[in-house]
Amino acid sequence: MELLRPSSVEDLDGGVFLHGGSEVVPLLREGLLEAEQLVDVRGIVPRGVQSGVIGAGTTLAELEVEPSIPDALREACRLAASPQLRNMGSLGGNLLQSTRCWYWRLGYRCRLHGGDRCHARDGEHREHAIFANDFCASAHPSDVAAALVALGARLRTDRRDLAVEELYRLPDEGNRSTTTLEDGELLLEVELPPVDASVYLKAMDRKRWSFPQVGVAAARHADGSPRIALAGVAPIPWRLESVEELDAATPLPRTEWKVAPARALVRRALAQLA
């Protein structure tokens, strides 16, 4: 395996991007990711916060104490992972992390791995999705992604601008990816529109270092409308227009329990915005 350290975005030519390594390294070790070239992008991805624009190389640890960013994002960073992981993990890497579904992590030939069934649907799935779980029942693990979707953030890559929401797609028969990122495309910056207020609430099964069982981000935008996005309830960050939309959830037998905490957290989040 070769490690490259390009000095500019123009020098990029394929390979697997590596920033903090808290996700890529374990995936390589488990054989879930293969790379002939590892590309250390720390030298070319912007880092730091300037007037509403966040470098994708900014660590979660830096963001959790950043006063200029909205509460929802700061809180999502603070409640994610452990201090050690937040010191290493970058904003961009966090948005692109893979599911924690144990079948996927153990290399079962599930739909996300190109197979023809979702093992979680028939097996152990208490941590899995309550929405859009027909094809794949995995739950999206990123607190930060839910916060950015609620905040209406936009992304700049080396090729285009897009809404954070547009970074994600539900996997299907023809395309098993959960993102719209092209091969070799690199996240560079996140741009935050101004919001009046925002909040992130998270249900975990211990007080720290837990992926969201349910994470709820809500933001009140300039037009007065609240925008809600959930982590841990669907294969991608999940938008809700209202708390009533939870009545339309399609939980699996052992994810039914997630609906009540989701409802409670959405209500609490909206109450905090009011």
């Binding site: 924690r100 144990w102 079948y103 992590r105 153990l106 093992h119 028939d122 097996g123 152990e124 208490r126 249900a203 099964d205 211990r206 007080k207 720290r208 270092w209 837990s210 992926f211 069982q213 052992r254 329990w257 009540a260 905490p261 409802r263 409670a264 957290l265």
Partner: protein, 737 residues
């Protein structure tokens, strides 16, 4: 003087009748209460080495020329190897040797669980060994997989005959009772997750095998390895200086030791075989799941008249049928008790002892049932426990029992419940619960120690025991310092090497201090008597400081020798305690927060109050993980472990630790040894789950019956309580206003 006795030996709640040679224990016990050194808080003697990274754990050892082993494990929960070819592995770079089924103890043709060891290789680096293991070609014949314990019991797939017990006439008592409560309680499989994974480093020097191993029982490893390999025991040296946790899972050698020994023999090089964290989760043992179908019956005055319990332990492919029924038989004064305990043999990883095996699970069921009974009888739960206080163990007297004193000291904590409940609001409900603790912990003979005293007035305690992280070095030094009348700083402890001291007991079953402590005191007393003898011969006045007397020794040394005396005959040696727990429950999201735990334990004399508090805190934290968040999950189709990482398997973090208040009755057991101390390793984990469950009921009215009390289980119990309340309202509403 030594004598031969027939005695009952207990380890982890398992009894066997054995003949042993014991020495008399003529020393009088010290008076109750703190002494000069014993009974006073002492920081760990090895704390500095540990935090500075200087303490050498098995995982730290590197020997010249050392090779690394990796183990091929079955992906199938039940299968036979029909063909295996190691050649492709042996052809890879760095690979020095490979062994297959039957070539080392523990490598087997039939894999009874996913994770069972099949073959192994040794290579220059661990990465090379892992790659080589992947290259081994295996053809499997898959066999039927049984994963459900009730299914196994129905089909009589059991690890042993069902264990049946009955006293009195349960049927008659049930029929005549005023109140009968019943419930099915379930506990999950949990993992020990020692910080240091299971591992051994083996090296042959001539015909002697040196085994460096992370173990709770140096002498047990020596005996098992010698027996398995057909060596004289003195040709096996076992070393464990520092140890990174075992909790019952490291009581003996396992396949990794035999793999390392055999590969070392074949290569003529030292070989390390260390489990990875994933292997730790699939192959290193676990606390087994249980199903407990329980009934309790009482008269309206609160007298319990019958207990009836059917227990099923999901033992797994191997392991033993732990005493899940133990608390039901022993905790209360009840004339009619009937239990049956099944050990289901399943195609799941093996059960191993885990901190009070059986009693942790059984106490959860029993002590929650007692609170359900208290609610039905409308009797205060503490009062109900007092009314049914057992003054003997079904006729056998206790060597000492101060549970009533524990209850008395629990009162102020229990009184807080009114104030705690009053801090509830619409979302967060608060409540207080309690549970009692009963467990063994008396230790036993044999165990030996030597004390060496030089002319500088320093003493060294020498015994080939292990300190598994519980503060053993410190406690042993305190005992020797007290007996010799010298400061703690002047005592060193040498342990951890079978070639450097006499036989010492296992560090399991809360037995280290009660087994070893008396031997150390006896050795120190022997040395002290010799010193006094010298003083008398020199005509020194009584009370002359030891330093002054031994100053004449020059190169001469005083060598004291001591042995653990027998346990009291015809008595039950048991530990007791009570926990009072305060919880808060978010009734909308199912979050449970343990806010405060008061733990009061009766374990005889406390040697080191600081170390004892640390033990209690550790037990409570581990118990909170067991109660709220930990669970090993299997794929229901294949039987493979799904929670193979510390991210998927959730142990509590420091943020989950509540306020913990520890109290000890600290009264020596007058019948037990020259020390009067019992063990404390296990007692604090025994009652915590039930106390949390009972606090949840107090806070919310919901009956939790399943561990872990995840949000899913909490929300289920809340919904059930709500439906029950609604139904009651409907039926109980007045007909007309």
């Amino acid at each position: 003087m030594a004598r031969l006795i027939r005695t009952e030996k207990e380890v982890e709640g398992r009894f066997e009748e054995v003949w042993i040679v014991v020495e008399e224990d003529p020393l009088e016990q010290w008076p109750e209460g703190p002494l000069h050194v014993v009974g006073r808080p002492a920081p760990r003697k090895d704390g500095r080495e540990r935090v500075r990274g200087e303490a050498r754990y098995t995982a730290d050892l590197k020997l010249p020329g050392m090779l690394h082993a990796a183990v091929l494990r079955s992906p199938h929960a039940h299968a036979k190897v029909s063909r295996i070819d190691l050649a492709p592995a042996l052809a890879l770079p760095g690979v020095r040797a490979g062994i297959g089924p039957g070539e080392a103890h523990g490598l087997e043709v039939e894999a009874g669980f996913s994770g069972a060891a099949v073959a192994a290789v040794a290579a220059d680096t661990f990465a090379q060994a892992r790659a080589a293991v992947e290259a081994i070609e295996v053809e499997w014949e898959e066999l039927e997989v049984v994963l459900d314990s009730d299914d196994a019991v129905r089909r009589e797939l059991l690890t042993a005959e069902p264990r049946r017990y009955e006293r009195g006439d349960v049927e008659q008592a049930l029929a005549g009772a005023d109140v009968v409560v019943e419930g099915t309680y379930r506990t999950q499989t949990v993992l020990h997750n020692s910080l240091e994974t299971h591992q051994a480093l083996c090296e042959w020097q001539g015909d002697t095998l040196h085994v460096y191993i992370s173990t709770q029982y140096i002498w047990g490893v020596r005996q098992s390895v010698a027996e398995t390999l057909g060596l004289p025991e003195d040709k096996v040296r076992v070393v464990c200086e520092y140890m990174g946790g075992g909790f019952g899972s490291k009581n003996g050698p396992d396949e990794y030791t035999y793999v390392a020994a055999e590969l070392a023999r074949r290569t003529g090089r030292p070989v390390r075989c260390a489990l990875t964290r994933r292997e730790e989760h699939t192959s290193a043992g676990n606390r087994n799941a249980t199903v407990q179908r329980l009934r309790a019956a009482a008269r309206s005055d609160g007298t319990i008249v019958a207990f009836d319990g059917e227990f099923t332990n999901s033992v797994g492919w191997s392991g033993w049928n732990a005493s899940t029924e133990g608390p039901m038989k022993m905790l209360y004064d009840c004339e009619n008790v009937r239990t049956v305990t099944y050990g289901a043999q399943l195609n799941t990883p093996p059960m191993k002892a885990f901190r009070a095996p059986g009693f942790v699970e059984g106490t959860f069921g029993l002590e929650c049932l007692i609170d359900e009974l208290a609610a039905r009888l409308d009797v205060d739960p503490l009062e109900l426990r007092r009314r049914n206080y057992a003054s003997s163990n079904d006729g056998t007297p206790f060597s000492s029992k101060n549970l009533e004193e524990c209850y008395r000291r629990a009162e102020p904590h229990w009184e807080r419940r009114h104030e705690v409940r009053s801090r509830s609001d619409a979302v967060w409900k608060r409540g207080v619960g309690m549970a009692s603790q009963i467990w063994y912990g008396g230790g036993g003979p044999p165990s030996y120690a030597w004390v060496r005293l030089g002319s500088d007035g320093r003493a060294t305690v020498i015994t080939a025991m292990q300190d598994i992280g519980t503060g053993t070095r410190t406690a042993m030094a305190q005992i020797a310092a007290e007996e010799l009348g010298i400061p703690l700083e002047q005592v060193d402890v040498v342990l951890g090497d079978s070639a450097r001291g006499p036989y010492a007991s296992i560090s399991a079953g809360s037995s280290t201090l009660p087994s070893m402590g008396p031997a150390v005191r006896a050795a120190a007393a022997d040395a002290r008597e010799q010193v006094e003898d010298i003083a008398a011969q020199r005509g020194m006045p009584a009370g002359t400081p030891l330093e002054e007397i031994v100053a004449v020794l020059e190169e001469s040394q005083i060598l004291g020798k001591g042995a653990r005396g027998p346990n009291p005959t015809g008595m039950s040696v048991l530990t007791f305690g009570v926990h009072v727990v305060e919880v808060a429950v978010d009734v909308e999201t199912g979050e449970v927060v343990v806010e405060r735990v008061a733990a009061i334990h009766d374990v005889g004399r406390i040697v080191n109050p600081l170390g004892a508090s640390s033990q209690v805190e550790g037990g409570i934290i581990q118990g909170i993980g067991h109660t709220l968040s930990e669970e090993r999950l299997l794929d229901p189709e294949t039987g493979r472990v799904l929670t193979t990482s510390l991210d998927a398997y959730r142990m509590p973090t420091i943020a989950d630790v509540p306020e913990i208040v520890c109290e000890f009755v600290d009264r020596p057991d007058e019948h037990l040894t020259n020390l009067g101390s019992k063990g404390l390793g296990e007692p604090p984990i025994v009652p915590i789950a039930a106390a949390i469950g009972n606090a949840i009921r107090d806070a919310t009215g919901a009956d939790v019956r399943e561990l872990p009390i995840s949000r899913e289980e909490m929300l289920r119990a809340l919904r059930e309580a709500e439906e029950r309340a609604r139904a009651k309202e409907k039926h109980g509403a007045p007909a007309a206003v």
